[in-house]
């Protein structure tokens, strides 16, 4: 088991849903694939997907919905299933 940090590559506002009426992309306790989106970051009038980056289980969200993030900030932690999945 390895902790993989999901990082926003850009500064902006972090969203955990594709739009206000929809369900969360994912949540703690759920499993994700490496290419699954965990959130969106809004900047310069557009939205950019933040992929999990590794397959495993989401164990933590460090940023609230609609909170501001900096580039390089960890938004979530995924516990990977084993070695070599990152």
């Amino acid at each position: 088991m390895t902790r993989h940090e999901v990082v926003s590559p850009i500064p902006g506002v972090f969203y955990r849903k594709p739009d206000p009426e929809s369900e969360l992309f994912t949540d703690t306790g759920r499993s994700v694939g490496a290419d699954d989106t965990v959130g969106l970051v809004e900047v310069m009038k557009s939205f950019h997907e933040v992929p999990a980056g590794a397959a495993g289980t989401v164990v933590e969200f460090l940023v609230e919905n609609e909170a501001e993030v900096d580039a390089g900030q960890v938004v979530a932690v995924v516990e990977t299933d084993g070695a070599g999945t990152e």
């Binding site: 990082v7 590559p9 500064p11 902006g12 900047v43 310069m44 009038k45 501001e68 900096d70 580039a71």
Partner: protein, 322 residues
């Protein structure tokens, strides 16, 4: 030649700008941070206004098909050659077949990558700058996309690697900034309270910030009651259409001031309560979302003094890298 493997968020070719066509609706464009542009160019021996890549928030991945000398100035985004870190504000070599990439943004908002010889895209109306809204200039009138190939100019006796901008002449970027303004031309639309609110509020830059304008949130400005003049809209923030200076701060609906930057539209019907000093447009350029911003009023003498200070700083940069 440079091949774009990953384009970054919105990487554009920019130079000193396209002066002289704003009356036709074509804004100056060019590097939003003109100081960092000059620093990057002088480091590699280019003319100070040569065409560079403006990188916003996230760096591209670029493959060099020929050796080059490059430099990165502006926002802190550590450059890497084949994964190995290189310094900011310093010229360095990139070998044939090597890849230039960037670390996460840690300060500021826009980095400038100069390559000895300059980025050789065709000049449009005397400039290589990209005006994306008008699909004009730069590389096909748009930000870079994966697979693009950029030619590097020759004929410049490029300076070597290892040239450095002295520490005191480097840009310093904070999340708390002061931006100097001159009030007007439409500050008479604000009440005494509205004017005080504008100058006393610590505004926060929203994510709605790009080369056209930077939108801030923080307060609502009280306006003076009036009968709308012929040609102006009903909202208290509407005026009879007027030209928008670069740096002017318009306040649609009396909330969320917008600082117009170098890709601005040239006119419209919102009151401009103040105008950012040209030299402080560099400060706005290096603001990322969330930057806490105070607008500080100066008078004409103060503005001219600030301009002279800015000029002296650029002269020092030229002396240091001449």
């Amino acid at each position: 030649m440079i091949t774009v493997r990953k384009p970054g968020l919105s990487t554009t070719v920019q130079d000193g700008g396209r002066a002289g066509f704003y009356d036709l609706g074509i804004p100056p464009s060019g590097a939003l941070d003109q100081y960092a542009l000059q620093a990057a160019n002088l480091l590699v021996g280019n003319p100070h206004g040569a065409a560079v890549l403006e990188i916003v928030y996230m760096g591209p991945e670029l493959v060099f098909t020929a050796p080059a000398v490059v430099a990165v100035a502006g926002a802190t985004m550590v450059p890497k050659v084949d994964g190995e870190e290189r310094p900011m504000w310093e010229s360095f070599a990139v070998g044939e077949g090597e890849t230039l990439s960037f670390g996460y943004l840690t300060a500021g908002a826009r980095a400038y990558l100069a390559v000895a010889g300059g980025v050789d895209v065709p000049e449009v109306l005397g400039s290589r700058s990209t005006y994306a809204l008008g699909a004009l200039g730069g590389h096909n009138g748009r930000p870079l996309t994966a697979g693009d190939e950029l030619r590097i100019g020759d004929g410049v006796n490029g300076a070597g690697a290892g040239r450095v901008v002295p520490a005191e002449l480097r840009g310093a970027y904070s999340k708390d900034v002061e931006v100097r303004v001159m009030m007007g031309l439409y500050d008479h639309r604000l009440s005494t309270d509205g004017r005080a609110t504008f100058l006393d509020t610590t505004w926060k830059l929203t994510p709605v910030a790009d080369r056209i304008g930077f939108r801030y949130s923080g307060a609502e400005l009280e306006t003076v009651e009036r009968e709308p003049p012929f040609g102006a809209g009903q909202d208290p923030s509407n005026i009879v259409d007027a030209p928008y200076p670069i740096g002017s701060i318009q306040v649609p609906g009396s909330v969320e001031p917008i600082v117009l930057h170098r890709d601005a539209v040239s006119g419209g019907g919102y009151m401009m309560v103040a105008t950012v000093l040209s030299v402080d447009l560099d400060v706005v350029a290096q603001s990322a979302p969330g930057t806490r911003t105070r607008f500080v009023e100066v008078d004409l003498d103060g503005a001219l003094a600030a301009r002279a200070d800015g000029k002296r700083r650029v002269e020092k940069l030229h002396d240091a890298l001449g």
